[in-house]
């Protein structure tokens, strides 16, 4: 896999006004890069063309339809920061995407800050972030259902209802 992709909320990655230009909001780290067991859940992909699959995996794991914001960095940039990743099964009903999940392991304060800086640089360069709008997310899920990549019953109620009406249209 070439990139690691993380779901974020773009608004948290703008610098705070009235501080130095390169500041990173605390919420970006404590909410968007929230760790469990000092590990950060990310998705892997081979190319930026595969970002739609990551958005699909992320959207299906939720319980309501909203925009999906993602950012990504090259997996090759992690070793220089002393950061390791490990493949773990992803929490998504899309079975062919489960193997594209990774955990970034053994994160301490320095490493999570370094990672946040890496993401912030990429986002602020305007090249490595993408917002999937709500209709785009709906389309991705609908197409996946049509292609039998996931079952409607595997989706949470609100998403299922929205996709069902999309399928009937």
């Amino acid at each position: 896999m070439k990139f690691i992709v993380r779901k974020i909320s773009l608004r948290k990655w703008d610098p705070l006004p009235d501080l130095e230009d390169d500041n990173i909001q605390a919420d970006a780290i404590t909410i968007d890069l929230k760790t469990h067991g000092n590990a950060l859940s990310v998705w892997g992909c081979e190319s930026e063309e595969n970002l739609e699959d990551v958005a699909l995996a992320l959207a299906c794991a939720g319980d309501c339809l909203n925009v999906v914001d993602v950012t990504w960095v090259e997996i090759s940039s992690l070793p220089a920061l002393g950061i390791q990743s490990q493949k773990t099964p992803g929490d998504t009903p899309v079975s062919d995407l489960k193997d594209y999940h990774l955990n970034i392991m053994n994160l301490d304060m320095r490493r999570i800050t370094d990672l946040a800086q890496l993401f912030a640089q990429r986002i602020r360069q305007g090249k490595k972030h993408r917002r999937f709008s709500r209709p785009e997310v709906k389309r991705l899920i609908t197409n996946a259902v049509k292609a039998n990549r996931l079952l409607l019953d595997d989706l949470k109620e609100k998403i299922r209802d929205a996709i069902q009406s999309e399928l009937h249209n």
Partner: protein
């Protein structure tokens, strides 16, 4: 004044009239149980049973699917609560929520006592936020509103809209002036979600105002709500908006194209 202290493996929550002790939920993650104990410390003018029921109701309201088994020893005046939930990671939320519930309950009891003594039984303080507003703000402070996931504040907001719509409208209008943009953005997102199908005129007006907010997080929340409503009614608001932040400008442009095609 609320103070916190820790003693003997339990954390204590100290109120003017109450001392509430509970065991650290982190110690119960593996067992999937949270055991809480409530003890009456100074007890002036309070009823342990009533307060206990308030706490249980508050926990149930926020987490409707938790199972609450209570064993109350009225003689010793030390009721205890066992909350169980299959998903143990909810424990921390239950713990915080319960602690807040204690706070609200204690505040209400204290208010009642004060009202009785001042013979102002039916008079409410004009500056006091409605109960639903307190609950929503406290839930938002405990758990961020995240895209793709339902937030517990939505349920409170929905109930409040059903029972006291005018109070809700007044409160949400006033929240736009709040100094905390994170709170404003979160309330706007919740409003959008609970009015997704109906999107009444007053909500369109409020979200339209939020779109012109000085903070980008609030404007983004408003733009997402307008997109989710999927109605050309909001096209005018989006078209006339002048956005400076590039990624949000791009997103709003996309919404305008989408809505124009309906």
């Amino acid at each position: 004044m609320v103070t916190y202290a820790s003693a003997g493996g339990s954390t204590c929550f100290k109120e003017p009239n109450h001392l509430v002790g509970f065991q650290d939920p982190n110690r119960f993650v593996n067992s999937g149980k949270l055991v809480c104990q409530y003890g009456l410390a100074w007890g002036a003018g309070t009823s342990p049973r009533r307060m206990w029921e308030d706490i249980a109701m508050s926990v149930k309201k926020v987490f409707p699917d938790v199972e609450i088994l209570s064993t109350i020893n009225y003689e010793s005046k030390i009721p205890s609560l066992i909350v169980t939930k299959n998903l143990s990671f909810y424990l921390r939320d239950i713990y915080h929520s319960w602690r807040k519930a204690c706070f609200f309950s204690a505040t209400n009891e204290a208010d009642e006592e004060s009202s009785r003594s001042e013979k102002h039984l039916n008079k409410e303080s004009p500056n006091k936020a409605p109960r639903f507003a307190q609950e929503i703000c406290s839930l938002i402070s405990l758990q961020p509103v995240e895209n793709g996931f339902t937030h517990p504040a939505e349920k409170i907001l929905m109930e409040a809209l059903a029972n006291q719509e005018e109070d809700v409208i007044r409160w949400i209008e006033s929240i736009l002036e709040d100094k905390n943009p994170y709170l404003v953005a979160s309330v706007i997102s919740c409003l959008g979600r609970v009015t997704e199908k109906s999107h009444p005129a007053w909500a369109i007006k409020i979200v339209g105002e939020a779109l012109e907010h000085s903070n980008v997080a609030v404007r983004d929340a408003a733009a997402q709500v307008l997109e989710s409503w999927e109605t050309p009614q909001v096209l005018g608001l989006l078209s006339k908006h002048k956005e400076k932040v590039p990624w949000l400008q791009e997103y709003i442009g996309k919404i305008v194209i989408q809505l124009s095609s309906y």
